[in-house]
């Protein structure tokens, strides 16, 4: 282990700061002094961001390992929970290219969102509570990123889920927000069940291998990533014959762990909670449901990539689910009216992108791994910017519905400029960040032979551009539409809805500006060169440079076509859009209703689980099981009355009972004592 600089050996400081401020703000400052609480929370996260940048800088300057890759360090590791001898959980920090990158992304976006929130939520009564949970979220996200073993990741995973539950449910007097937070927590909890089962399966087999190896695995614990990703362990895992419903054990474990990731990253079957999560305040959506939490699933797959790579079917699942989700979300995205829901579906689609990028990656074609991480890096910035932009628009106009906005170009120049910048980036227009990362993914898909996936990627790129510019044109171009409807995003304090919308205060647009810069700069950060999939033998092949034109041109073209279509329908007179909608008719309504998945889930939980299972069980318990207990009581009482009835009061009946006693005694004695 090369001697580490201060920050590298004390990486645990980065998550410790938000934790400390969480405790400080939560217990002390919240009831006492609201604005101070906000300030302390924001300062803590900014400090963490600074430390992360410093750590990243030091890390990148570390001497490379023999195979030319950046070293994997586990500077601190404290035993926390000892299940069994070889299976104990150490809390610690693991530094490798993707975790450092994630560290930087999370802390930066979180800091900016904190700053933005001080403005956005100014004067709200739940102000202190908001920042407490935001800090808790940041701590648990950092804990997840730095986790050296599966169990610490699972612990922080759950904490992230819980803090997102409280943040979505911030406006807890609004029933829609309450049910959204419940739905989010329960769906992710269901996915975490898969993750837990994955840990159990993997834990058991890894433990048997670890026990078998004895001295060779002295320092490591069974569930550490370092141990799990060792080549010899992986080969033994692959060799496991155990079949469960026809699926190999390793694949089963990988898929189960993937369900956890899919739940958190809202992949296809478990995506229903993300659109409803928009009920939370917009900065929360920006931080959690755009930049950080939702990418945890992608990070999980990336972190345990060697395990996934060991079983081909698992990666296949990842790829298919990713691709389908991106297409599925993109189609729905084109039809939504609520600006935040459109952005939510766009996030879904981009996450699908990252997932299928990992899906196509393998040791032969490692490009997908790097592309996914690169896209994660860039997407965090411009998606956060989009959300903050939407937030400032909502803040000004007090409604989410894009049809009640219009022509905001004139009133909010800064937001408009930055929003346009971000929309261009997400549409993949060079030279912005989106172009580079999307291009990498498409290249990875093409070169690894997955042409179908490449085609889907291209189509989605076009649709992304289409729906992004759709909301851009509707919101910022055209003439002003009055918002006569009831405020959806109700801010009681500045309720002058009819006055002209004004630009957001400085504390809000400054973080957006910073994100704008990052969106521009992110493309040029040499992530592909730093973040590379290290093959099992540790030797890195020489990296390829420059943009692959064969992929770049079709990608950009798709983007431009998308923009043109959006311009055609929505920039000019609105009639064109309405007529198109009429033509599509029924088909359009189905997509708009998100393929009725919400209704299906509601039906399953409400009628099947509650009315058909829980109700009868409660009834069964009261009637049958309790009935049996009461029945025994009743029978004993019956026995009592029977014995009492034998007391007739007739002396001579008693005499005959006595004589019967004698005769019976003789019979029993004779039966039992005969030699």
């Amino acid at each position: 282990m090369p001697d580490l600089s201060f920050i590298l050996s004390h990486a645990w400081l980065i998550p410790a700061l938000p934790l400390a401020s969480f405790l400080l703000v939560g217990l002390v400052l919240r009831p006492l002094h609201k604005p101070l609480a906000g300030a302390v929370a924001t300062a803590a996260v900014f400090a963490a961001a600074g430390l992360s940048w410093w750590l990243a800088f030091d890390y990148l300057h570390l001497p490379k390992t023999a195979g030319g890759a950046l070293p994997v360090l586990v500077p601190t590791s404290v035993e926390w929970l000892r299940f069994q001898e070889g299976l104990s959980v150490h809390l610690g920090t693991l530094l490798d290219p993707i975790s450092v990158m994630l560290l930087v992304v999370v802390t930066t976006v979180s800091a900016l969102v904190h700053l933005y929130s001080t403005g956005y939520l100014h004067g709200e009564d739940g102000y202190g509570r908001y920042f407490t949970f935001l800090n808790l979220f940041t701590f648990s996200m950092l804990g997840l990123v730095l986790a050296p073993n599966l169990v610490q990741m699972y612990v922080c995973w759950e904490l992230v889920g819980a803090s997102s539950f409280f943040l979505i449910g911030y406006y807890y007097d609004r029933p829609s927000a309450v049910s959204a937070s419940k739905k989010a927590f329960i769906v992710t909890r269901f996915a975490d069940l898969g993750f837990l089962l994955g840990i159990l399966v993997l834990g058991y087999y890894a433990f048997t291998i670890h026990a078998g190896m004895g001295a060779a695995a002295a320092g490591q614990q069974a569930l550490d990533f370092a141990f799990l990703t060792r080549p010899d362990v992986l080969s033994q895992l692959q060799a496991l014959q155990g079949q469960f419903l026809g699926i190999g054990t390793l694949t089963l474990a990988a898929v189960l762990i993937y369900t956890g990731g899919a739940g958190k990253s809202a992949m296809f079957p478990l995506h229903i909670w993300l659109p409803d999560a928009m009920e939370g305040p917009t900065p929360v959506s920006a931080l959690i449901h755009a930049a950080t939490m939702v990418v945890a699933g992608v990070y999980l797959v990336a972190r345990s990539f060697p395990i996934f790579a060991a079983s081909a079917e698992a990666l296949q699942v990842v790829m298919v689910v990713g691709a389908f989700t991106s297409l599925f979300a993109a189609t729905i995205g084109c039809t939504q009216d609520d600006i935040k829901r459109v952005l939510a579906f766009s996030t879904l689609s981009q996450l699908g992108y990252m997932m299928f990028a990992l899906g196509v990656a393998s040791y032969e074609h490692p490009l997908g791994y790097t592309a996914s991480m690169f896209h994660l890096f860039t997407h965090a910035f411009f998606k956060a910017l989009l959300f903050l932009g939407a937030g400032s628009v909502i803040h000004a106009v007090h409604t989410n519905n894009i049809w009640q906005m219009g022509g905001l170009r004139k009133y909010m120049p800064i937001t408009h400029g930055l929003f346009l910048l971000a929309t261009l980036a997400i549409a993949g227009i060079p030279p912005l960040a989106g172009f580079f990362s999307k291009d990498e993914i498409l290249a990875a898909a093409l070169h690894s032979g997955h042409t179908v996936v490449f085609g889907v990627g291209l189509l989605v790129a076009g649709m992304t551009a289409f729906y992004m510019f759709r909301i851009y044109f509707v919101t910022f171009w055209g003439e002003r539409r009055l918002s006569h409807l009831h405020h959806q995003d109700d801010h009681s304090h500045d309720d002058h809805s009819h006055a002209d919308p004004h630009e957001s205060p400085a504390v809000m647009w400054i973080p957006m500006a910073v994100l704008g810069l990052l969106t521009i700069g992110a493309g040029f950060v040499p992530i592909p060169e730093w973040v590379r999939l290290v093959p099992l033998d540790g030797k890195l092949p020489e990296a390829h440079h420059g943009v692959d034109l064969a992929v770049a041109i079709p990608g950009t073209l798709a983007g431009v076509i998308g923009i043109a279509l959006a311009w055609f329908f929505y920039a000019g007179d609105p009639q064109r859009a309405n007529s198109a909608v009429l033509k599509l008719g029924r088909f359009y309504a189905v997509i708009k209703a998100k393929f009725y998945f919400d209704e299906i889930y509601l039906f399953v939980t409400k009628s099947i689980i509650f009315r058909l299972i829980a109700g009868p069980i409660a009834w069964f318990d009261r009637m049958v099981v309790d009935g049996l207990v009461n029945a025994t009581g009743w029978v004993t009482r019956l026995g009592g009355t029977a014995v009492n009835a034998s007391q007739t009061g007739q002396v001579q009946t008693y005499g005959s009972w006595l004589m019967s006693g004698v005769v019976l005694a003789v019979v029993v004695l004779w039966a039992t004592t005969r030699q």
Binding site: E158, F165, F185, I617
Partner: protein, 515 residues
Amino acid sequence: MGLASWLILIPFLTALAVLAVPTRRSDLIRWVALVGTAAHLALTSYTTWAFWQEASPDLVAVRTETVSRVYLVERVPWFESLGIDYLVGVDGVSMSMVILTSIIIFTGVLASWNVVHRTKEFFTLLLVLVTGVFGVFLSFDLFLFFMFYEVAVLPMYLLIGVWGTGRKEYSAMKLTLMLMVGSALILVGFLAMYHANGSTTFDLTKLAQAHFETGLQRWVFPLIFIGFGILGAMYPFHTWSPDGHASAPTAVSMLHAGVLMKLGGYGALRIGVYLLPEGAQYWGLFFMAVTTINIVYGSLGAITQKDLKYFTAYSSVSHCGFVLFGVATLNLMGLKGAVLQMFSHGVMTGLFFALIGMVYGRTHTRIIPEMGGLGKVMPWLAACFYIGGMASLGLPGLAGFIAESHIFLGGFFGNSWTNPILSRTLTVLATLSIVVTAVYVLRGLATVFQGPVRDPHHAELTDATLTERLSTGILVATLVVTGMVPGLLIDLIEGTLFPIVNRLQATGMAIPGHS
């Protein structure tokens, strides 16, 4: 008089002190009770420290022994001719249970600060009940164990009968009778073991060294397990728990769900598995199946409950199912998980019932649909409720997760004499409960604390008073500390469990990976 005897004696002396106070001075009575329980809490912490001084040096040696060591032992011969003696001592598992009970009784006294109806008798009976419980956890002589076990069950009848609500007499009677039937089964088991060992001694450690022949173990183990299972709310015999808790006053249901139901798990582990290893192996899988029903059945049953107390009672049925499931797994992690679950669930349910008592004290209704939006009105209680709820659904960082993760791993690792496929499917079914628990916890809490204030005059209710904040605060603190720093409790418990697992191993079957 050693430390262990003082631990049993203090609650009894407090009870006598309370009796001495004139009846009308009800506030003085409360203070005497509080001082008594506070003194007990102090003594418990000192004893834990003293126990740790004695026990930590031979933590390593214990890994290979087959008889668990007992510390701070006091032995006074009682009925020599029958081999009965007043044998009291402490070991890891019983120490953790004593800590739990001491916390629960202290917070219980705080939570029943506004009992006005016949206060003196209430506190006397409460303290006698807790003396019985301490007696069970600290005694290592089966006769003494059984004696304190029944002392613990009996005041329950009067406590629920006089101070209860709803169908109090019916549920008090049902509760007492079902628990006594349980103790009847246990009595048969104890006597069978006593005589199989040549009717020389009731001392637990000596009985552990004696090897009972397999046939006897096979029919005595189910008796002991079901006998204790009835108190631990095992599936078919759990019906007393919803009624009993629904009609019991706050402190009583806190004590009962929090501590008395743990007697069941404790007894099943300490006497069932420790003394009858072969019996445990023979019946292991069967009871694992029953307790899985217990877990899933309890949590599903809780979803549609309308009354808060029934809601919590069903949830404790499910959580107690975890305890017995952990005991039935018969390997180190499972047993450790069972003891941890006993501790964490004890604190959780104590917190829940205390809070329900406080909410009921204000809104005078326990029906969930009738309440709404109380989060704004009583933020402290709402926050504690949420922390308790999160702990019960096993959020990491709180005590619930530590115990449940142990039990799931234990269940999944199974043991070499049970069919791995079956034990794993049962464990998977059990893990389903973390989702179902999440559903009913969030659903219940959301209806009560979130959303608009449904009942107008709930709006001007007050938040927690000082005593209430103190009691809930202590319970929440315990949950968080155990969740964050489980090392303390795990080391305490592991010392005792190694010998038990070694005994299971000594009966000729290898546990995978156990060194």
